[in-house]
């Protein structure tokens, strides 16, 4: 726990403890821990002298923040318009089938999270998903399985 808070302090130092930097701080914490644990948010609340409710307000407003633990590997399937008209729904079904979880869920062993996003900015290749940092253009069931199997 102390180690985690030290990491958070480092992030706060990088941005300064001005309230304006709060979103940038939370983004870095989200990146570091893959979610925003309660005790960390409380720590941030103290350090920046902002009410915890204010922080929760932000974390529920912006889609990128998560208040529940996320898997070690994240799969994001694009539901954007370009992907929608090229079969995003079917890609989501396939991914969900391989991982055995529904969108928004994390697998019990905390290995995978499956989420939908509005656009990945790779619209020309729709339907697309991003598995950790790798973009996959219209992967088949087999492709997704192979990717999932390669994850530790």
């Amino acid at each position: 726990m102390l180690g985690r808070l030290a990491a958070v302090d480092k992030i706060i130092e990088a941005h300064g403890s001005d309230r304006e930097g709060l979103i940038q701080i939370l983004l870095d914490i989200q990146r570091e821990f893959r979610w925003l644990p309660k005790e960390i948010l409380e720590h941030v609340s103290k350090r920046l002298d902002v009410p915890i409710n204010y922080i929760y307000n932000l974390t529920t407003f912006y889609a990128h923040f998560s208040l529940v633990p996320k898997g070690r590997h994240s799969m994001h399937v694009c539901m954007g318009t370009a992907c929608h008209v090229r079969g995003a729904e079917r890609l989501l079904d396939r991914t969900s089938q391989v991982l055995g979880i529904k969108p928004g869920q994390t697998s019990r062993d905390e290995k995978f999270s499956l989420d939908t996003v509005n656009c990945l900015g790779a619209c020309a290749l729709g339907p697309v998903m991003i598995a950790d940092d790798e973009y996959l253009s219209n992967p088949t069931l087999e492709d997704i399985r192979r990717k999932a199997d390669s994850c530790e």
Binding site: D18, R19, E20, G21, L22, I23, Q24, L26, L27, N57, L58, F61, Y62, A63, H64, F65, M79, G80, T81, A82, C83, H84, V85, R86, G87, R90, D93, Q97, V117, N118, C119, L120, G121, A122, C123, A124, L125, G126, V128, E134, Y135, L136, S137
Partner: protein, 639 residues
């Protein structure tokens, strides 16, 4: 930069520029490997690595420049590799092709034919600008991507970079800069098409000790990635535009608000800013002119509504990115209550061109009310997907058919959607519409930021309208009732339609709710939320009527209304459908007609997709007709 010498006067800059240009051989061979999002998905990172290895193995590192560049445009055919100066364009390049390119092209000056684009006559096309996808484009903003390593300010300066800034701050008054932008007729590329010059003037006017200029790189419109293409590939063009704006408006601080989903864009911008500070092109007293300016990057945490101007400024202040009422203009009281000018990425990127080439040059491109070019994200069911830049006024038909190559799998065109969740659909009858702000608006759609999503005949317009409302329902901030409840009510009606439980007067209900929302919602999101529905009712009313009265879905998409069957006359019994069916609902012997058990079918569409396009035996019928259809096909099979 190899050695950084701080530039302290305009003549310092000029000598640096001359030095860079003199040190360059225009005939030097350069290999531009695209590392835009599309090509990365096709493993262009590996292609680049292979080039590094192969060039060094061939001892060519000293003679050939190798760069990882931003998006070239033709993403569908990525990874794209362009060899300069001849512009030899290799498409779908795999890591295995690299040795051959080095051997054949770089060493022996010949082309690798199989990697070239093949024209309609089957003949290979060597030069990028001769390929139909590129031939009809006019790339003034987006064209330098393949010639610029986004990490090299020398590349940008060699292409004329920062000469517009120097010209503005050394030879023009702020008023003259604003006058030039006003005169050019440049309109905002991010949404409403508001005249940029007028906005600058309004921000410069009110007395204030501090003003801000801001880049909107939130790019929340799903299906659009033009801004990403510019920021990743040519970050300096946006930064230079912003600095010129800062000078003209009297701002010493600029912000770039960019969505966190674009890490490469963020990295490239941050890198560019560091280099500029070291050079003295950013900071206090730039080039000794007395103009001081710095830029801060703010990452967006994912909220569509935060792309709206007042919401975006709240987000920069570290608050929830909700819009506020428009009676206070952000040009008077914006970020931290100071006059602030927000423009889109592409708008800013046009500014250096206007300052360098003049308003008259800019005005010579485009239509009466819309000057210059526009970059579109040409995506969806079109053959050649990618980023295209065309002069305003080009027809939709030219963009979709001449550049885009027509509809994928040679299906029929149905509609094109522009303007994102605030825009609308345009039907086939209007393909000759000249694309500009005003024409799109009169057609019931919008330019928006430049998303152009092509839809084929297998698209359901009611489903698309429902899709946009679902998107907006998720993204509405909920601050005002007309939007929050209006969207949900509209959505409820559309859900009824797609579920086959619509009521006869539902179309009137949509009309009523829409009028209320347009008049009463607080921000653009709510005011324009009915557009996708209204425009599709306008042009595809019969499809709505079919859903309401006939309980059928002509596009064959709405699961509750359709059922799958196999045409025994057409089926060749190849068994492909059976293999892909996840629930074993299809049966049949080899080379004999197959059939669907509708009691098991979960309507996943796999069999429809899989049946060979020459055969097309899988057909969609009305769910209401299932019993009879099943009986008839069985009878037929028995005969």
């Amino acid at each position: 930069m190899s050695e950084i010498i701080k530039l302290s006067s305009p003549s310092d800059f000029e000598s640096l520029r001359e030095k860079i240009i003199k040190g360059r051989d225009p005939n030097r061979t350069a290999v531009a490997v695209c590392s835009g999002p599309g090509c990365l998905a096709y493993a262009s990172g590996k292609v680049f690595k292979r080039f590094e290895e192969a060039l060094s193995a061939a001892g060519l590192e000293g003679e050939v420049t190798l760069a990882q560049t931003g998006c070239h445009g033709f993403c569908e055919r990525g990874p794209s590799v362009v060899i300069l100066p001849d512009e030899i364009c290799y498409l779908r390049v795999s890591p295995e092709d690299v040795n051959e390119i080095v051997e054949t092209t770089l060493k022996n000056g010949a082309v690798v034919e199989r990697l070239l684009y093949k024209g309609e006559d089957g003949l290979p096309i060597q030069k990028e600008s001769d390929i139909p996808f590129y031939k009809y484009q006019q790339k003034v903003v987006f064209g330098d991507n393949k010639r610029i390593d986004p990490r090299s300010i020398e590349d940008y300066i060699a292409r004329g970079g920062y000469t517009a800034l120097v010209k503005a701050i050394t030879t023009m008054t702020p008023e003259a800069v604003i006058a030039e932008v006003k005169d050019s007729g440049l309109r905002g590329r991010g949404g409403g098409g508001f005249p940029a010059g007028a906005k600058w003037e309004a921000t410069a006017k009110p007395p204030a000790d501090t003003r801000y200029v801001i880049v909107n790189a939130d790019e929340g419109d799903p299906g659009a990635y033009m801004d990403r293409g510019i920021l990743e590939g040519n970050p300096h063009s946006v930064i230079e535009g912003l600095m010129i704006g800062g000078y003209a408006i009297g701002a010493n601080e600029g912000y770039i608000y960019v969505r966190q989903e674009y890490p490469l864009a963020i990295d490239n911008v941050l890198y560019a800013l560091d280099v500029l500070r070291e050079l003295g092109l950013l900071g206090e007293n730039i080039l000794g002119t007395g103009f001081s300016f710095d830029i801060i990057v703010h990452k967006g945490a994912g909220a569509f509504v935060s792309g709206e101007s007042s919401a975006l400024m709240s987000a920069i202040e570290g608050r929830v990115g909700e819009p506020r009422p428009k009676y206070i203009r952000t040009s008077i009281s914006g970020l931290r209550g100071k006059p602030s000018c927000l423009n889109n990425v592409e708008t800013w990127a046009n500014v250096p061109l206007i300052i360098n080439k003049g308003a008259n040059w800019f005005k010579s491109i485009g239509t009466e009310g819309s000057k210059g070019t526009k970059i579109f994200s040409l995506v969806g069911n079109v053959k050649n997907t990618g980023l295209v830049e065309v002069p305003m006024g080009m027809t939709l038909r030219q963009i979709i058919f001449d550049i885009g190559g027509g509809i994928r799998d040679d299906k029929e065109f149905k509609a094109v959607q522009t303007g994102g969740p605030s825009g609308g659909v345009i039907p086939e009858e209007m393909l000759d519409l000249h694309v500009d702000y005003d024409e799109l608006y009169s057609a019931g759609s919008m330019m928006g930021s430049g998303g152009m999503i092509v839809m084929d005949k297998d698209t359901c317009m009611v489903n698309v309208a429902k899709y946009f409302l679902e998107f907006l329902s998720d993204e509405s901030c909920g601050k005002c009732v007309p939007c929050r409840d209006g969207i949900d009510q509209l959505l409820e009606v559309l859900r009824r339609m797609t579920a086959g439980t619509a009521r006869p007067d539902d179309l009137d209900l949509i009309e009523d709710i829409s009028v209320m929302m347009k008049e009463c919602a607080l921000c653009g999101l709510g005011q324009s939320a009915p557009n996708p529905v209204l425009s599709s009712i306008k042009y595809f009313k019969d499809e709505y009527v079919a859903h309401i009265n006939d309980k059928s879905c002509p596009g064959g998409v709405c699961k509750a209304l359709i059922a799958y069957t196999i045409d025994v006359e057409k089926c060749i019994g190849c068994g492909k459908c059976m293999k892909v069916c996840p629930v074993n609902a299809i049966s049949g012997d080899k080379k004999k007609p197959h059939k669907v058990n509708n009691a098991l079918c979960v309507k996943c569409d796999s069999c429809y997709q899989e049946c060979p396009s020459k055969v097309q035996a899988v057909t969609k019928i009305r769910q209401a007709d299932v019993i009879t259809a099943f009986a008839t096909s069985e009878e037929a099979a028995n005969e």
